[in-house]
Every structure is written in structure tokens, then in C-alpha cells.
């Protein structure tokens, strides 16, 4: 092949240009420690990085939400623990005052005063706040849910916290359920709970599954929540707790136990020195206690759900971060060896270029 001078120079230009470009690219990777600096470097990886980044960010938020909800639940549980103690004490009093062997009219009067205080303490528990929020007011979190006489001013709203893409967990338990024994309303209102049994219908009827009961309904509901239009979303939003939660459970109210009434009945019985009534109130106290215990176990189950949600979220975070790193971070060893390779290529082409631009015949003519 005939070699023209221009070919040599063009070739030197082209090879050096290419080597320098490769080198710059690698150096950029080394400086940023990323192999993905723009979408066109690897379009598929770039979109996956965006996906995982969303997941990580949302995951962070979910973790934060779960943490908050857990606090709220734990504080509620703690408060209910106090309430349980109140009833233990009331029970003790009722037992000791229900016979004449250890009690008399005067001891009953003293006990009545203590019960009165227990009543006040229960109201206090009912009006417990976390930060600025009342724990047991349902959605009405900004004013005390109970007045001094134990009348409920809150509603039956359950504040649901989103714990992952699909599931929500209620972080509060409205006061009317715990204190007034109002059953939780079912959205349709067609399946009233078994009378006298204040079970949270959301609690898995077969707890032996070992699954977190509270998360199950959320999972079951998940398909229904895949609405395709905002209308459906709104419909779900409404139906979540019924249109007017206060009215829905109206007829069942009597089936639970009003803990305040239990205490005030006991107080009245003591003041009236009515041994019989005091004895009868024991059953009610047990019912009230059971009601509180069930509420606590529900809360405990939810806290459990949150704990496992937190664990899986944390695991998800780690996985997502690993994936993201795999997708966009440069492999340092590979990078360094690539740089070395390119560098030696560059040197080689510089050397050969020097030879290519050799002296011509002109240099040998005198």
C-alpha cells in the first residue's frame, strides 16, 4: 500500500485522541468512584439506580414512620398498663370489701374514696398525651378525650401509619374501645362481634400462625387498594373507618364495658355500704380488666408487627444499597488495572508515533 504522509499524521492523531479519551473517562471514574456518571453509560442500570434510590428514600421514611408509630404504641401500652393496675387495685378493694369479715362500713367509706381517686386516675390515663397529641382521642388528638366524669369526647378514628408500600398499621387505639368497650366497627357493619367479647376483629383469629395479626388485614386489603382512579382511592379512604365512625358502632356500645361506669358503680356500692353490689361489681371489674388486657395485647401485636416491619425494612435498605452500589459504583481494582492498561497503551502509541513521524528521504540528502 502506498503510504502518504498525511496518513501517518492522521493516524497518530486518531490513536492518541482515542487513548486520551479512554484515559480521561477512566480518570473521571476514579475521581468520582462511579462507573455510572450519566444515563447513557448504562441506560438500564441508570433506571434501576433511580428505582433503588426511590426505594431507599421511601424506606428511610418508612423506618422513620415505624419508629414514631412504635413510640406511640409503646406509650399507649404503658398507659394501659397503668389502667390495668388501677383495676387490679379496684379488684383488691372490691374483694376485701365484699365480705364483712375484713370490712365494715367505715372501711368501705375509705375504699370508696380510693375508688374515687382510681376513677380520676383512669380519666387521667385516658387523657394521656404524647407531645401535643392525646393518645386515646381517636382522630381528635388535640383536646382531652375524656371529661372529669368519663364522658368520651373523641371519636373512633384509627390513625394508620404506612409501614411499607402495601401495608398500614394503626398506631393508636381510640379511647371508646378501651374505656367504653365500644367494639371496633367493621366497614360494612354487618358482622357484629360476639357479644361480651371485645376482640379486635383485626386480630387474627388464629394467633398460632405466629404472624403478626395486625398486618394481616392490611395484606388482605392490599389488592382492594389497588385502585386505578383517584375516585376509588377516595372511596377506600372513606370506607377505611366508615363515614361516621361515631354512629356506626352505636348499637354495640352496651355490649362492652364502660370502665368508668364500673368504677363509679363500685364507688356507689361502697358508699352505700352495699356488700351485695360490691360483690357483683367484681365481675364487672374482671370484664373491664379483660377489656384492657385485650386492648394491650392488640397494641402489643401491632408493636410486634412494627418491629418485624422495621427489621424487613432495614434488610431491604441494605439490599437496595448493595444493589445500587453494584450498579453505579466503580470497582476500584478493576478500575486501577484498566487505568494501568490504558496508560501502557497510551505510552506505546506515543512511542510508535515518534517512530511514525520518522525523518523522510529529505533528511538524508545533502
Amino acid at each position: 500500500m502506498r503510504i502518504a504522509d498525511k496518513m501517518n499524521f492522521d493516524q497518530v492523531n486518531a490513536t492518541l485522541g482515542k487513548n486520551r479519551t479512554d484515559m480521561a473517562e477512566l480518570q473521571n471514574q476514579a475521581a468520582t468512584q462511579k462507573k455510572l456518571t450519566k444515563p447513557s453509560d448504562d441506560p438500564l442500570a441508570a433506571t434501576r439506580v433511580l428505582q433503588t434510590r426511590t426505594e431507599i428514600e421511601a424506606g428511610k421514611q418508612f423506618l422513620k414512620s415505624v419508629g414514631q408509630a412504635k413510640n406511640f404504641l409503646e406509650y399507649s401500652d404503658q398507659s394501659l398498663g397503668e389502667l390495668a393496675e388501677v383495676f387490679m387495685r379496684a379488684k383488691e378493694l372490691a374483694i376485701s370489701q365484699s365480705n364483712d369479715a375484713s370490712a365494715s362500713e367505715s372501711t368501705r367509706q375509705v375504699a370508696a374514696t380510693e375508688v374515687e381517686q382510681l376513677f380520676a386516675q383512669s380519666v387521667q390515663v385516658g387523657n394521656r398525651k404524647q407531645g401535643d397529641r392525646f393518645l386515646f382521642g381517636g382522630f381528635r388528638t388535640t383536646r382531652p378525650p375524656f371529661d372529669a366524669n368519663g364522658n368520651y369526647k373523641g371519636d373512633s378514628g384509627e390513625m394508620k401509619i404506612t409501614i411499607n408500600k402495601e401495608a398500614q398499621v394503626a398506631m393508636n387505639m381510640p379511647g371508646d374501645r378501651i374505656f367504653l368497650g365500644k367494639s371496633v366497627q367493621t366497614p360494612s357493619g354487618t358482622t357484629p362481634p360476639t357479644p361480651g367479647e371485645n376482640r379486635d376483629p383485626k386480630v387474627d383469629p388464629q394467633p398460632t400462625h405466629g404472624n403478626d395479626p395486625a398486618v394481616r388485614p392490611a395484606k388482605i386489603r392490599a389488592p382492594a387498594s389497588r385502585f386505578s382512579t383517584p375516585n376509588e382511592a377516595a372511596a377506600e379512604m372513606k370506607s377505611a373507618d366508615g363515614e361516621e365512625p361515631n354512629n356506626l358502632g352505636e348499637s354495640w356500645k352496651t355490649k362492652g364495658t364502660n370502665v368508668f361506669k364500673v368504677l363509679s358503680d363500685l364507688e356507689i356500692a361502697l358508699r352505700a355500704n352495699d356488700k351485695q353490689s360490691v360483690q357483683e361489681s367484681l365481675d364487672h371489674i374482671d370484664e373491664a380488666l379483660a377489656q384492657v388486657v385485650i386492648a394491650r395485647s392488640t397494641l402489643g401485636a401491632r408493636a410486634q408487627t412494627l418491629t418485624s416491619a422495621m427489621e424487613s425494612l432495614q434488610k431491604g435498605q441494605v439490599d437496595a444499597k448493595t444493589l445500587q452500589s453494584n450498579l453505579e459504583d466503580a470497582d476500584t481494582f478493576e478500575l486501577v488495572s484498566d487505568i494501568n492498561k490504558t496508560e501502557s497503551t497510551l505510552k506505546a502509541s506515543l512511542q510508535t508515533s515518534g517512530k511514525l513521524i520518522q525523518p523522510s528521504l529529505l533528511d538524508f540528502l545533502r
Binding site: 503510504i3 455510572l36 444515563p39 447513557s40 441508570a46 434510590r53 378514628g157 404506612t162 382511592a233
Partner: protein
């Protein structure tokens, strides 16, 4: 019988031939690096011999022509490949800029701002009573709308810049066609006298290549040596010594072209009305630029608009069903633009909400400050199929947009690289045929110089012979 005169003539002609050849060699050396130059050769032929009876006596050599060494088919192939390269260069150039709008590897972009937005609603749902979470919702919504506007603005700015580039390229096209027309004239003039117009043809070939790199052309050389160049389907740019002008003007939206972007017009004559040829330009760098400007970017703008509008309307829909802290039915969360087009630029947080975050609704019922159902529902929108026939989530929609841009950019730049290689290889072949080799020229230099010396010696010999003849008598 030969004559001493004849010898002198042969010597003289030979010296002149050598000089011509030497000058041509000099011309070659001088144009060693001239783009598009083809090396030239003096074609030497034996001169007409003299008949003297039975003898035919040679009369030396004559310079028949100076020709260039050139393969016209190769030139045509280079022209074609270079046109492809021009198209890819124009496209890649524009695409790498578009890509930067969607590059979230280094900067925060829509993906992150929308995640922030939905996260703020999650945080809001955790604590709807708090002013802080409400303010956060407001802030993230603000940032998100600003980022929608940024994407819109950057994309339209790229369109504007591309307009400017189109204008510059059209100017260059006009320059080239003007020179082509005048070269046509020169070639015709020179070749009328029978000599090949080497340098003019080289230049003309080069200009056609450059023109093809800028705009899609068809061209042919007529019997008279004139090239005729047509751009697009029927925009006759060069005929004979006449060049027709293209120009650009900002015009209303038409077809894929956006409002206010430049159209390219063809002027057949100064008096006739200009013809719009924008749609015919699908090759060369102009074709690449126009494609990105009109098809790619407008497509992306539509998608971003669609995303902004869908996001705005779905959030509004839910928000309006809720109740704010004043127990009032929720207002529209976003001020939704009237039409889809330009929605990304105009999506704004409702003024009333921006002023008073208490107007953000989280409750699904009245008198329920802790009710977070609306906030929950809005936060869930992030993972709901609300766009693209309700099949894709907003994230998916946006991510696929980024992927699309990435794929297109990557494809164009790889194609550009390989096309560059093809052109380089062809150019290499061209250089090996038409390029100047210094070694070769130096050899010629020596060769012709020796020829020149020898011819001079011939003349001296003839001169001495004359002397001898003249001195015959004195002896």
C-alpha cells in the same frame, strides 16, 4: 539528417518539461496538508518525431497535461459516509445535552424531588397536627414543581440553542453553495481550454463533502462539468454558476415542530415566495439537530407535561375530598394549568396553601385533627398506576423516560464512533491514492533535477558543436 538546431530544441523542451515537473512537485509538497488535495502529475509524452528519409528522429518529450490522481467512486463513497457521520454528530451533540437534563447521577432531579414530595406526605400522615410536617409538605411540593419547571425550561432552552445552531449551519450551507457555484464557473472556463481543472475540482469535491455533512443532498455532474446540487427533495441549491439561498425564520408550531422554533425556507428566486423545507431535511448535521429538536425534545416535553398534569390532578382529586385544620373542604393542592401542554412549566402550589399550610387537608372527615387518611392516600399515589393508561406509576413513567433518553444517547454516540471509524478508513484509502508522499516527491525532485541538468548539458554540447562548426574556416 539531424540538425544542431534540433538538438538545441530538444534540450530546451526537456529543460522546460523538467521545470514544469519540478514546479508540480513543488505544488504537491506545498499542498501536502491541504484538505481534499489530490497529488498532481505531469504527463510526459514523446514529441512528434521528424521523418528524414528512412529515419524518424525523436524530438524529445512534451508535457501533455497535468492530471490529478483521484478515484471519483471513492470520493462519492466518502461523501455518503460523511453525510451519515454529519447526521450522527448533529444528533449525538444534541442528545448529550438532553441527557444532562435527566442526569441524576450527580444532581438531584425529578425522581428524587417527587420521592421527597411523597415522603413529606408520609411524614405528614404520621403527625398531621404538626405545623412542621405541614410546612415540609409545602416546601417539598414547592421544590418539586420548581424541578418540573426546570426540566421544562432546560429542554426548551436546548431547543432555542439548537435553533441558533440551525441558523449557523444554514449560513454555512449558503456560503458553501455560493462557492460551489463560482467553482462550477471556473471549472467550466478552465476545461473549455482543454486542461483539466485539477485544483478547482479538488476544492469542489471537498465542498460537496462538507455540504453533505451539513444537509442531506443529492448531486450529479453534468456533461459540461457543472455539478447540480439538490437539498432535501426539491430544493435546488446549485445549478451552473447560480446558487440558491436557504434561510431560517421563527414560525408558529407546525407538525412536530414547536411554537417559535426555526423553520428552514428555500428561496427559488428573490421574487418567488419562500418554500418551507424543514420536513425535507432529514440528513446531515441539520437533519440530526432538527430531529432532536422537533421529535425527541418535544416528545420528552409532552411526557413531562403529562407527568406534571397527572400528578397535579390526582393529588388535587384526593386533596379536595379531605378537610383542612379549619374543618373546611380541602382546596385544590396544586394550581393546575388549564391545558396539558406546558403543564410542567406552570404547575404551582396553590397560593392559599403556600400562604397558610393549615389549608393542607389530611382528614377524611370534619373535626378530626389526627385523621391522616387523605395524607395516607396521597402518599400512596407514588406507588399507584396513575399514568399511561393507569398502568404505570409516576416513578416508572419518569424512569422509563430517563432510560429512553439514555438508550438513545448511547446508541447515537456509539453509532457516531463507528461511523467515524468508517470515514477515517475511507479517508485513509483516499490518502493512499491521492495523498502526497514526501519520499515520493523528493525522489521526483532529484529525478527531474537530474533531467534538467542533463538537458542543460545537451544544450551546451550543441553550443560547442556550433563553435566547432564555426571554427572550421579559421583552421
Amino acid at each position: 539528417m539531424s540538425k544542431i538546431h534540433g538538438m538545441m530544441d530538444v534540450g530546451k523542451r526537456s529543460m522546460m518539461n523538467s521545470q514544469t515537473a519540478l514546479q508540480t512537485t513543488g505544488h504537491n509538497i506545498a499542498n501536502k496538508s491541504t484538505e481534499g488535495y489530490s497529488r498532481q502529475r505531469v504527463e510526459l509524452q514523446t514529441a512528434e518525431p521528424l521523418g528524414m528519409g528512412k529515419l524518424r528522429i525523436g524530438t524529445g518529450a512534451k508535457s501533455a497535461a497535468i492530471t490529478r490522481t483521484n478515484n471519483p467512486y471513492l470520493e462519492k463513497q466518502i461523501q455518503k459516509e460523511q453525510a451519515n457521520l454529519g447526521y450522527l454528530e448533529g444528533k449525538a451533540d444534541a442528545m448529550t445535552r438532553v441527557e444532562q437534563v435527566y442526569n441524576e447521577q450527580m444532581n438531584k432531579g425529578l425522581n428524587q424531588f417527587s420521592t421527597d414530595f411523597f415522603n413529606s406526605f408520609r411524614e405528614f400522615a404520621n403527625n398531621p397536627e404538626s405545623l412542621a410536617t405541614r410546612t415540609q409538605v409545602k416546601e417539598t411540593a414547592d421544590h418539586m414543581t420548581q424541578d418540573f419547571a426546570r426540566v421544562n425550561k432546560q429542554l426548551t432552552e436546548i431547543q432555542r440553542d439548537l435553533d441558533q445552531q440551525v441558523a449557523v449551519q444554514v449560513d454555512q450551507v449558503n456560503e458553501i453553495t455560493k462557492e460551489l457555484a463560482s467553482l462550477n464557473e471556473k471549472v467550466q472556463m478552465v476545461e473549455a481550454s482543454g486542461a483539466p481543472a485539477n485544483d478547482e475540482r479538488d476544492r469542489r469535491d471537498l465542498l460537496i463533502k462538507q455540504l453533505g455533512q451539513k444537509i442531506n443532498i443529492r448531486w450529479a455532474e453534468g456533461a459540461d462539468g457543472n455539478v447540480t446540487v439538490t437539498a432535501g427533495q426539491n430544493a435546488l441549491l446549485v445549478t451552473g454558476n447560480e446558487a440558491k439561498r436557504l434561510d431560517v425564520k421563527s414560525t408558529p408550531a407546525e407538525g412536530a415542530k414547536g411554537e417559535g422554533n426555526f423553520d428552514v425556507f428555500y428561496h427559488n428566486s428573490e421574487r418567488s415566495t419562500a418554500i418551507r423545507v424543514t420536513d425535507q431535511l432529514n440528513g446531515g448535521s441539520l437533519g440530526g439537530l432538527l430531529e432532536v429538536r422537533d421529535k425527541t425534545i418535544n416528545g420528552l416535553l409532552d411526557q413531562v407535561d403529562n407527568m406534571a398534569y397527572t400528578l397535579g390532578s390526582t393529588v388535587n382529586e384526593l386533596h379536595q375530598r379531605g378537610f383542612d385544620v379549619y374543618n373546611k373542604q380541602g382546596a385544590t393542592f396544586f394550581e393546575l394549568p388549564k391545558e396539558l401542554k406546558g403543564a410542567s412549566a406552570n404547575l404551582k402550589l396553590n397560593e392559599a396553601i403556600a400562604k397558610d399550610v393549615g389549608k393542607i387537608a389530611s382528614a377524611a372527615q370534619r373535626d378530626a385533627p389526627g385523621d391522616n387518611r387523605v395524607a395516607n392516600a396521597i402518599s400512596k399515589l407514588q406507588f399507584e398506576g396513575v399514568i399511561g393508561d393507569n398502568k404505570a406509576t409516576l416513578d416508572e413513567y419518569y424512569n422509563s423516560m430517563v432510560g429512553e433518553v439514555g438508550i438513545q444517547t448511547r446508541r447515537t454516540t456509539t453509532e457516531q464512533d463507528s461511523q467515524k471509524n468508517i470515514v477515517n478508513q475511507l479517508k485513509n484509502i483516499r490518502e493512499s491514492i491521492s495523498g502526497v508522499s514526501l519520499d515520493e516527491e523528493t525522489t521526483r525532485l532529484i529525478e527531474y533535477q537530474k533531467g534538467f541538468d542533463a538537458s542543460a548539458r545537451l544544450i551546451r554540447t550543441a553550443d560547442e558543436m556550433f563553435d566547432t562548426v564555426l571554427n572550421l574556416k579559421r583552421m
